[in-house]
Amino acid sequence: MALSREQIAQRVAQELKDGYYVNLGIGIPTLVANFVPNGIEVMLQSENGLLGMGEFPTDDEIDADLINAGKQTVTMATGASVFDSAESFAMIRGGHVDLTVLGAFEVDVQGNIASYMIPGKLIKGMGGAMDLVAGADNIIVTMTHASKHGVSKLLKQCSLPLTGKGCIKKVLTDLAYLEIKAGKFHLVERAPGVSVEEIIKLTEGELVINGDVPEMSF
């Protein structure tokens, strides 16, 4: 069975470590906040200028001056700080954020990522995604392994305009957890009940399989 959005988030959350500063993109990455393992502390960075993002406010806590990068109303966790946009991206570009999780349309064996633009369709912009992928060393991309029509999104070479070049090393799809090394995808784990053959069939870029590939555990 392919993983649900929540299961993808849950698997990503296993990569969180105590004391991590984390930037979560919009969509599935946002859900990771719901699965922080017990006993560890992480602090969420929101690139509009908030470190220590809390949960959504109650109706009477809503503050128009307090939003996240998705423009949603939020609260501040204890120990939070606020700052301007240049400071926020100094943190990001300067490599101070321990983990970045974001979505993508395509990734390829060279670690390239395309996530912001489909030519001919409406172009809304890259927001902070290009800074995030250029600045972070530890990035996890969450995405579906293939389109609804079975066309792989894990490619030899991205076909869409890039968000970043050679910057992705870890990909978590609804079918598998993969690493990108030396121009190849390496299959690390598979979703429960998904066979290696299915993953091979839906991976266009070269895929390395070493021995028995374990199933993810939750």
Binding site: T30, L31, V32, A33, N34, V36, V42, L44, S46, E47, N48, G49, L50, M53, G54, E55, F56, P57, T58, D59, I62, D63, A64, D65, L66, I67, G70, K71, Q72, T73, V74, A77, V82, D84, S85, A86, S88, F89, I92, R93, N112, M117, L122, I123, K124, G125, M126, G127, G128, A129, M130, D131, A134, G135, P161, L162, T163, G164, K165, G166
Partner: protein, 242 residues
Amino acid sequence: MAGFDKVVSSYEEALHGLTDNMTVIAGGFGLCGIAENLINEIKRRGTSGLTLVSNNCGVDDFGLGILLPKRQIKKIIASYVGENAEFERQMMAGELEVELTPQGTLAEKIRAGGAGIPAFYTATGVGTPVAEGKEERNFNGRDYILEEAIVGDFAIVKAWKADRYGNLIFRKTARNFNPLAATAGKITVVEVEEIVEVGELDPDQIHTPGIYVNRVIQGTFEKRIEQRTVRAKTPSTNNGEQ
């Protein structure tokens, strides 16, 4: 105005000197921390041919989006747009020039503009459409592109409090691009929720020193919320969203 007193009493006076084809840097992220009344005044004046520098372009009937119907914006430099229908229409029809710029690069371009730095190298955008036509250089084994600073004829800024000398304090995430914009306008105009007497703000708490600010006006604000997201009132142990 006398000495260091920056306070003006009308929005007309606040934007005196703004003329067609100028470059305006606007603070704000989405609809948070935008200079609502200064934008209204630009609309009222009918100034056109503007190049706007702003992370976003508002929505159809609020924020910078209200400058679209009468085609007051010639070009926008932004990181994320398209939250409104008229914007999409003008962009697709080629009536509005859009220069998409990564958010961190945009912030740094404005910061550099205000700090007298003409350009800087960044790894953001290397190998992407953003790098096209830009100088590339390798430092310590990594490629960077050269990005140029931005200076505005005007900067429009929203702060929480100011004193009469234009010292500013921002509130929560309404700070965003505002302190950067404040430094990069040849004329920087700030609207605030409250103006206090000189000496009332703790110097240690001032985010933007008054040297960057030319005019200050007190306004009232709608503060529209773009994505109202709430949780139920029951206690929750969640650390994040949803």
